[in-house]
């Protein structure tokens, strides 16, 4: 990936911002330096998006951040044409499940145009999708839809879990010559952290070890990362030292970091909100099984959502991975064999 543009040694720009503000800043900064960047979607203009992620962009950039008719397939296809015509569109899908009408455009065109044309047509476009539950949302507002996209060759799929990654991964996505899907952790939109906007983060394709530990590894991404970190805190009090890997980039997948982390502890739990059956977490578990079998002291465990349609708000707490469920899985990793 292209590193962020910098002139000499950048002076630190440390700010305490939320994930939402980080995403907003990433778009604003990209639009400032590159006038081919345009933002489109439902309610992204005057309103600033239902989550306010595009707040102020229309005021600052006019029609470069614009409301479209309410039609997701149309938005996606329109963005494809814009990208073919030399622009760098950023599409906002209002909610995870609202992106499904655009699936044909994503799977048959966004993902395949480069391949179909032997690289003659690139689609430098970004698709932002707020995903996941735990916000008390009614049906169709809480899906974890990342596996549909990670299963589709040609798509880069990112899942930031904190403001710094939200900023830098979105900047990298906008700069990418390939179409990139950014799964935005909607439950974490309001979570705040100090971010050094001037300091490059690991590029697309790199996972991060966000907590060192020696007893077992939790591999996770997006809005499950804080849950895993909390589980690691509790485990520490209980005498177990858990390592946490934040994948950050689902595609490309960072086999090197994941496998060396797993090999260092020999025990692993994969955590994600999405239903587990035939999911991205299954892919992670399978890869670990194939590549780290001889380093493993126990079978790879997964803690995921149940294989049910996303539940109604009053019942969602039973569906989502919790600290207790993660710790139960950790407990089951055949410690008696030590």
């Amino acid at each position: 990936m292209t590193p962020m543009p910098s002139a000499g040694t950048p002076s630190p720009r440390v700010e305490k911002i939320t994930v939402m503000q980080a995403l907003n800043r990433a778009m604003r900064d990209a639009m400032t330096v590159d006038e081919t960047v345009h933002v489109l979607g439902e309610d992204v203009g005057t309103l600033g998006g239902v989550f306010r992620v595009t707040d102020g962009l229309t005021k600052e950039f006019g029609e470069r951040c614009f409301d479209t008719p309410l039609a997701e397939s149309g938005i996606m296809g329109f963005a494809i044409g814009m990208a073919m015509g030399g622009l760098r569109p950023i599409v906002e899908m209002q909610f995870d499940a609202f992106a499904y009408p655009a699936f044909e455009q994503i799977a048959s065109h966004v993902a395949k145009v480069r391949n179909r044309t032997k690289g003659q047509v690139n689609l430098p476009m970004v698709i932002r999708i707020p995903y996941g539950g735990g916000i008390g949302g009614v049906e169709h507002h809480c899906d974890s839809s990342e596996s549909y996209y990670t299963h589709t060759p040609g798509l880069t799929v990112l899942a930031p879990s904190n403001p710094a990654d939200a900023y830098h991964l979105l900047r990298a996505a906008i700069a990418s010559p390939d179409p990139v899907i950014v799964m935005e952790p909607k439950r974490l939109y309001w979570s705040k952290a100090e971010v050094d906007l001037s300091r490059p983060r690991p590029p697309i394709g790199k996972a991060a070890i966000v907590r060192d530990g020696t007893d077992a590894t939790i591999v996770t991404y997006g809005q499950s990362v804080p849950v895993a970190l909390e589980a690691a805190e509790v485990a520490k009090r209980e005498g177990r030292d858990l390592q946490v890997v934040d994948l950050r980039s689902l595609v490309p997948f960072d086999d090197a970091t994941v496998m060396s982390a797993v090999a260092s502890t020999g025990r692993v739990v994969v955590v994600a909100e999405a239903q587990g059956f035939s999911s991205f977490s299954s892919e992670v578990a399978a890869r670990i099984g194939e590549r780290c079998f001889h380093s493993l002291a126990a079978p790879v465990r997964r803690v995921t959502g149940f294989d049910i349609p996303y539940p109604p708000p009053k019942l969602e707490k039973h569906h989502l991975p919790t600290v207790d469920r993660i710790l139960d899985a950790v407990d089951s990793l055949q410690w008696e064999d030590q």
Partner: protein, 389 residues
């Protein structure tokens, strides 16, 4: 307790009443198509003098060029069908009988304009300058798109229905916002008008006043399903008014009328007045593809009258009557078409080297580590295969 004044009601009473008109804007009626398709030359090649649309006859040069492209297009269609029978192409969706539509669509486009064709619009693509062999590489099984879209300003032929119409609107939008002088023609068939993307494309194009022309080649069939199962609308062109754009009906076998109607729509787009919907009435003379059997759903009696409306016979009769085409010119043109057909046979008939490693090269700008692993696996398999030969 005093009942509280409902807040919403109080606010509503303060609102300045605006003139919300429910009256139908009569100007919208002008967006409706003519009762009969616009025609400038009748089926026998005679100019139609009393045409309601009042469009001028294209120049002799334009008509001759169109005729030449149609003859080449017909030969391209027939040769492609023959290449399927010889096992050189997997399949071919012929546009035999629809050449006028395809040629006219390409001819109204200038050096900076774009075409978005479907799988049945290969003649339009060839008329844009795409190499006849390159465009057949998809059907020959070499790769999905055999030509560089930017070189010819011709998008890859779309296989999913109507998806390309939205891309066309988006590309036209990009031209509009960057101030580029560019018009886009997007083609589809009558079946595609039932797809959601048809609606979304027209709606986006109209809302953003994109310089794009949507031309439906209404050839009466979507594989086996007749138009009556696609729509209950009075005509497909009548759908334009629903989006706020003019809808035009035109005789799709009259290349003169097509050039005039498309030309008018292109001028309108260039003036910044937005999109136009054109319904060209034509007929799919052959089956959907070579793999289809049209006798299962339509009779020879139904097809026969359309043979008499052939666009090339009509154009030839018209040009001969105008005194701009003679036997020698017809013969010379036929000769050129044969030369193209020979090149197609040579190009598609010869073995081309395909590199299996290339499968992994165009998935991303830079192959992922996983793709590199899989590439190495395949190359290793091939090397072992080679070693045991």
């Amino acid at each position: 307790m005093t009942p509280r004044q409902p807040r919403a009601k109080a606010q509503a009473s303060q609102a300045v009443p605006t003139a919300v008109s429910t009256a139908y804007d009569l100007a919208s009626a002008e967006l409706l198509p003519t009762a009969t398709p616009i025609q400038l030359v009748d089926a026998d090649g005679h100019p139609v003098t009393a045409d309601a649309a009042g469009l001028p006859m294209p120049s002799d040069d334009a008509l001759l060029r169109a005729h030449e492209l149609m003859v080449m297009g017909r030969r391209f269609n027939d040769q492609s069908g023959a290449l399927v029978r010889q096992g050189r192409l997997a399949v071919y969706p012929s546009s035999h009988g629809q050449e006028a539509c395809q040629v006219a669509a390409a001819m109204v486009l200038g050096d900076n304009d774009w075409l978005f064709p479907t799988y049945r619009d290969t003649v339009a693509a060839v008329s844009m300058g795409v190499d006849p062999v390159q465009i057949l590489l998809l059907l020959a099984g070499d790769w999905h798109a055999g030509y560089d879209p930017y070189e010819f300003r011709c998008a890859p032929t779309a296989t999913p229905l109507a998806t390309q119409l939205v891309h066309a609107a988006g590309l036209a939008y990009a031209a509009k916002v960057t101030g580029e002088d560019r018009v886009v023609v997007a083609l589809c068939g009558d079946g595609a008008t039932s797809e959601g993307d048809f609606h979304e494309a027209l709606n986006f194009a109209a809302v953003f006043k994109c310089p794009v022309i949507f031309m439906i080649q209404n050839n009466e069939f979507a594989i086996s399903v007749p138009l009556s199962r696609q729509t209950a609308a009075p005509s497909l062109a009548a759908k334009g008014v629903g989006y706020g754009m003019p809808g035009k009906r035109v005789d799709g076998n009259d290349v003169a009328a097509l050039l005039a109607v498309l030309g008018e729509a292109a001028d309108r787009a260039r003036r910044g007045e937005g999109p136009t919907l054109i319904e060209a009435h034509t007929y799919r003379m052959q089956a959907h593809t070579n793999a289809d059997d049209a006798t299962r759903y339509r009779s020879a009696e139904e097809v026969e009258p359309w043979a008499a409306r052939d666009p090339i016979l009509r154009s030839e009769a018209h040009l001969r009557a105008r005194g701009v085409l003679d036997d020698a010119a017809v013969e010379a043109l036929k000769q050129r078409a044969e030369e193209m057909a020979a090149e197609m046979r040579l190009g598609i008939g010869k073995d081309r080297d395909l590199d299996p490693a290339e499968l992994f090269e165009h998935v991303y700008a830079k192959p992922t580590p996983q793709l590199l692993e899989q590439r190495a696996q395949l190359l290793d398999e091939l090397a072992r295969e080679e070693a045991t030969k």
